[in-house]
């Protein structure tokens, strides 16, 4: 097929798709290993979704409580993920996170400090000790800016040495990658278009790192930015790799619900950490009614004790408002369904009666602003209205923990939110930012080693033509009536929201699967008007295809997993089932483009890690035969 | 015109600004107030009279250092002879006003005010300025503003003198101590406003602690810096308040010295 549009061509050793925390960390590592590295992102440099992270980055540095160490962090992560995590990822993450934080500091990051001048750490849901390195409530911004400035530092070094800042490391902003190219059964490059001009680009490279972030925009109510369209998930699927754990989607319990324009916008967990309480329309602190059996010993069952916890954490149990995110989100959902919701369909989150106004303004500056400027609500005077919002996807590309190599596609690597395994069925707050750096770095190393061992793999004309044809499709008329991509997107979001949302049933999931198939048909008839030149309709038309694949995997895997665990709640199977813990669901594409979901066994945790837990605790999660077979036993 | 917002490549629009609010009001008010002050001051300087009414002295004429000063007004003696230019006696206030004038001309706040309102670069934010070329404070004459700190230190000396004047006003007309008049309040208010203006100055903030890299190694200077920083946020207010009070103080002395009113004594 001839190609009427201009096409630029670049050649690199490794191409990194995504300029969030994971992508940038991978790029630094690859450049330092001597590779010619390109970073590609959809928006401007420095705007990636990571910028929105607020609370902090978990690492067991033990600056605030010296009892903390990697073993404790590992245990917390496994518990949070309900033991479905890939043990090796959780282990590497817990061990390496402190180094990654310290490294940021050497690159210029300015975290908040303790009295001794060390990096300060804060409490967060699910973490036994204060563990989150932070800068006020803008930690993600600090991370992205520091990484961005690290890239600049490396470029300045190259400029001094070679007279060209961008010779070995270059950022290509506002390019969307639409295909991973493969030749000889291995990655040979990527294909995409410049958002500004609509011109097409091909990057030839033997190794590609996917660091494309999340899928939030597949849902109607989300805390994610427009970039979260699951591109990396879809790119990997189409390249022949596998997505696992896609049924696990984290709904953050507290997103804004009013006004509609900001519905879903995150209200940080720190509000509850600092004393905010959840009440229903009857003014009742309902969370006391929702403490699950497994957590009974750790959470206060009366208001007096819960209130004492804020000042004395050793002698009192935590308030139930600080239960893991999935529990709180479900509780809010039930209250609203039972008709005890707030005016606009949420519940109330109140700090106004708990803390003096000036303390609120000081501790939660951006929340104060957010409500003041976007909802005309003064949170020092009135309660906020909040409800669950789609926040994070635990599922993603199945990768090798040590090298971040994607399953089934030589030359493809993945790190960050787009990769799966680290968080199991539910992610703890703060574990993502550290995940980005730990595995971003490993992906950079993995790619460097791969390139050094395998050398070049030229792109064939055939691969390019196929990719070009896909991009051209939205401008061609389909057979059915022309579809407006914006409206189709809105319809999809409604479906995911209603049918594969926070509480799921077999009937709904099956219905969702059907609808998604329908949409896939309709997508063929999407017609974009105007030109290619910075045309958002064209952009969204291509993104839609990705979101449909993601939604398809979520619905498909959700239908199969007949239990409730972490980010997957089935009304018809409300209990966690140890037998299901042994299984990951892998999603792939068949040759004819159908979504296929299959069960794969979860890797066994070695004894030295198992021994970090009490047998009692393990018995809540594991099957009888597993417990019997445990060699050496635990103490 | 094809520079600035009308440069080739920028979004084509014929308007200098699309602002709809009254952006011109602020510069207009600034011009009006500053001009009135300048007119009044010039008039008073060349009037060369009614600046002393024991024990009150106008801030425009203190310290009166010239041999031409009226009797009793020369606190620090009269080292300067009578200077005539083109047959005109230079009024003693000239020697004094050079310093406060320099202080205010180089003040970071006043610079903002007059660059915007008199020079219109820019008249208001996002309103195109009328000049074809702009080099700001990179070259003479405007580079001189970098000498603000010298005027700041000179200003401190004046503050001391005007404070002394305020203290001296706790006397009656016969220069006996222990009396308070309306004039006392006026002079004290004047001195206070000037101190606030000086303490809130950016140079003061820099000198007292801002130039340090490690606050934690200088706890006292850090405290001082914190206090000055707090004042500094109101520097603009102090700039206007002190300007107006200085003029009013002079005006009060004028009224008393010209026997228009009587300086009422509380005790």
């Amino acid at each position: 097929m001839s190609n009427p549009v201009n096409m630029e061509r670049f050649k690199y050793d490794v191409v990194i798709i995504g300029a969030g925390g994971a992508g940038l960390r991978a790029a630094v590592e690859a450049r330092e290993a001597g590779l010619r590295t390109a970073i590609i992102c959809k928006s401007l440099f420095g705007k990636a979704h990571t910028v929105m992270a607020e609370g902090g980055m978990a690492a067991s540095m033990g600056n605030v409580n010296s009892n903390d160490n990697w073993q404790v962090h590992f245990r917390d992560t496994m518990r949070g993920g309900k033991f479905l995590n890939h043990y090796r990822m959780a282990e590497l993450h817990a061990k390496e996170a402190p180094d990654r934080v310290w490294e940021l500091e050497m690159w210029g990051a300015l975290f908040d400090r303790t009295k001794e001048g060390k990096i300060s750490q804060r409490n967060f849901g699910g973490h036994e000790y204060p563990r989150l390195a932070h800068v006020g409530d803008r930690t993600g911004l600090e991370m992205i800016r520091t990484m961005q400035q690290r890239i600049v530092a490396l470029q300045q070094k190259d400029e001094k040495e070679f007279g060209d800042a961008q010779r070995y490391l270059k950022v290509f902003a506002e390019i969307t990658i639409t295909d991973i190219l493969k030749d000889n059964g291995k990655v040979s490059g990527v294909y995409g278009y410049r958002r500004e001009t609509g011109e097409e680009v091909v990057f030839e490279a033997p190794a590609v790192v996917l660091a494309t972030g999340g899928i939030g925009k597949t849902f109607k109510v989300t805390s994610n930015s427009w970039e979260g369209t699951g591109d990396g998930h879809a790119l990997a699927l189409r390249a022949g790799s596998k997505l696992k754990d896609m049924e696990f989607v984290q709904f953050h319990p507290t997103g804004m619900v009013w006004p509609p324009s900001v519905r879903g916008l995150l209200v940080t967990e720190s509000v509850r950490g600092d004393g905010g309480v959840l009440t229903n329309s009857e003014g009742k602190r309902f969370m006391f009614d929702y403490i699950p059996e497994v957590f009974k010993e750790k959470y206060a069952d009366n208001e007096a004790e819960a209130d004492r916890w804020y000042t004395d954490q050793t002698n009192n149990r935590r308030p139930p408002e600080l239960l893991p995110r999935d529990e709180v989100a479900r509780a809010i959902n039930s209250e609203v369904k039972a008709g005890r919701g707030s005016e606009h369909g949420g519940v109330y989150l109140d700090v106004s009666k708990r803390l003096p106004a000036d303390v609120i303004r000081k501790k939660l500056p951006s929340m104060y602003h957010q409500f003041k400027e976007l909802a005309n609500v003064d949170i020092t005077q009135t309660p906020m209205e909040v409800g669950p919002t789609c926040h994070y996807v635990m599922g993603g590309i199945s990768v090798d923990p040590d090298t971040a190599a994607a399953e089934g596609v030589p030359g493809l690597f993945a790190a960050g939110e787009v990769a799966a395994g680290m968080h199991g069925s539910n992610r703890l707050g703060g574990n993502s930012l550290s995940d980005l750096l730990v595995f971003g770095r490993r992906a950079g190393m993995g790619a460097a080693a791969y390139v050094k061992a395998n050398g070049e793999n030229p792109v064939s004309k055939d691969s390019i033509d196929k990719a070009a044809a896909r991009i051209a499709a939205p401008f061609k008329a389909g057979e059915g009536p022309a579809q407006n991509p914006y409206l189709l997107h809105a319809e999809l979001q409604q479906v995911t929201n209603d049918l594969v949302g926070i509480i799921r049933t077999e009937k709904e999931l099956a219905a969702a699967k059907e609808k998604i198939k329908d949409f896939q048909e309709k997508l063929k008839d999407v017609q974009v008007t105007g030109e290619r030149f910075f045309n958002p309709a064209f952009h969204i038309a291509l993104d839609l295809e990705n979101m449909l694949l993601v939604a398809g995997c979520i619905a498909g895997a959700g239908l199969i997993r007949e239990e409730s665990r972490g980010g997957h709640t089935r009304d018809d199977y409300p209990k966690m089932d140890p037998n299901w813990r042994l299984v990951n669901l892998h999603c792939s594409l068949t040759d004819s483009g159908e979504i296929k979901v299959e069960k794969v066994k979860l890797p066994d945790m070695p004894n030295e890690l198992l021994n970090l837990f009490e047998k009692d605790e393990l018995s809540k999660y594991m099957t009888e035969p597993e417990l019997v077979n445990m060699k050496g036993g635990s103490h | 015109m094809s520079t600035g917002v009308f440069s080739p490549g920028r979004a084509k629009l014929s308007q200098k600004t699309l602002r709809k609010d009254k952006w011109w009001l602020q510069p207009l008010v600034t011009v009006a107030v500053l001009l009135s002050f300048i007119v009044y001051t010039t008039f008073r300087v060349f009037e060369n009279a009614y600046y002393y009414a024991a024990p009150l002295i106008s801030p425009f004429y203190s310290p009166c250092l010239s041999k031409s000063c009226v009797e009793g007004s020369s606190l620090l003696g009269a080292p300067i002879g009578i200077v005539r230019i083109l047959g005109m006696t230079l009024p003693p206030a000239i020697w004094i006003l050079v310093f406060p004038l320099g202080f205010r001309m180089t003040c970071y706040y006043y610079r903002k005010a007059y660059y915007r309102s008199f020079w219109m670069s820019p008249p208001a934010c996002a309103v195109a300025e009328p000049h074809a070329k702009y080099s700001g404070e990179t070259k003479p004459p405007l580079i001189v503003s970098n000498g603000h700190r010298w005027f700041f230190f000179a200003g401190l000396i004046f503050n001391l003198i005007l404070t002394a004047d305020a203290i001296l006003s706790f006397r009656n007309e016969k220069l006996q101590w222990g009396h308070v008049s309306v004039g006392t309040f006026v002079l004290v208010a004047n001195a206070t406003a000037l101190w606030l203006y000086s303490f809130s100055c950016h140079t003061c903030r820099h000198t007292i602690g801002g130039r340090l890299k490690h606050f934690s190694k200088h706890p006292v200077r850090y405290k001082a810096w914190t206090a000055v920083s707090r004042l500094n946020t109101k520097h603009q207010n102090f700039a206007w308040i002190s300007l107006i009070i200085v003029a009013l103080t002079d005006f009060y002395v004028l009224l008393v010295a010209s026997h228009t009113i009587h300086n009422y004594y509380l005790f």
Partner: protein, 248 residues
């Protein structure tokens, strides 16, 4: 309750363009970006606009609304009178690409010219000790979301294209100040560089950058003026130079 809003949106490219009238619904609690999105979905499918987070955190949706540089996602429709026609244009200090999207590469070029942070050569990761009071000043500047509204409003380059070469703009002068105040930075001549290579002297402290900053950073008072004072220390004040020589 939806109400009808009259908008004038600039549409065009670097070659030509102008304001176009549109009427569109606006609902309670919406921001300008919502309304632009509605125009996009219903009337001008190919209207180009940049945005990401819709929460005032990424600094992508910078544009000029009724002539004022603002974030579209943080400008509430309720700020405008019922019958007011709202004019929306791209940033006017940078070349336009299409509709509301401008070419902000100037800023990235300037970013590349600010010498990177350099900790002491013998310092190892994990070793730094810094007091909160020592990091607070630079932390304020690190709140910057790089919306470039300050760069856009600064008359030095907005009104004088030819100054772009010599002047880095408030964002990057602030970055110089941030590093000069960083407790562990060892680069010695940042002040001189700020004046000689980044054009600090062009700034006439008229504070428009501060007025438009959505993060409410006191750019002029806390970064630019202190930086100017530091420059005076090393370039215009013989006393300070002498005393620092004596101390050595």
């Amino acid at each position: 309750m939806a109400r009808k809003i009259n908008l004038k949106i600039w549409r065009g490219t670097s070659k030509d363009g102008g304001l176009q009238d549109v009427t569109v619904d606006a609902n309670e609690g919406e921001v300008v970006l919502d309304v632009i999105h509605r125009v996009q979905a219903t009337q001008m499918n190919d209207l180009a606009v940049r945005w990401n987070c819709k929460a005032g955190k990424c600094g992508s949706c910078s544009m000029e609304i009724n002539g004022k540089p603002r974030l579209a996602c943080m400008t509430q429709m309720a700020n405008f009178a019922e019958d007011e026609t709202i004019t929306i244009t791209p940033l006017r200090a940078f070349p336009v690409i299409k509709d509301l999207v401008t070419d902000v590469s100037y800023n990235y070029e300037k970013a590349l010219k600010v010498p990177a942070f350099q900790p002491p050569a013998d310092m190892k990761p994990g070793e730094p000790r810094m007091q909160q009071v020592d990091v607070e000043r630079s932390q304020e500047f690190r709140k910057c979301i790089e919306c470039f509204l300050c760069q856009n409003v600064c008359h030095v380059i907005r009104d004088h294209e030819e100054n772009k070469e010599a002047y880095s703009g408030p964002r990057f002068l602030m970055r110089m100040a941030e590093l000069d105040m960083h407790p562990l930075d060892t680069v010695k001549n940042r002040k001189e560089m700020a004046q000689d290579e980044h054009g600090l002297g062009f700034c006439n402290i008229t504070k428009c950058c501060t007025e438009v900053c959505p993060e409410h950073i006191h750019i002029t008072d806390n970064a630019l003026i202190p930086l100017k004072e530091r420059v005076v220390d090393v370039k215009f004040d013989p006393l300070v130079r002498l005393s620092s020589k004596l101390r050595k």
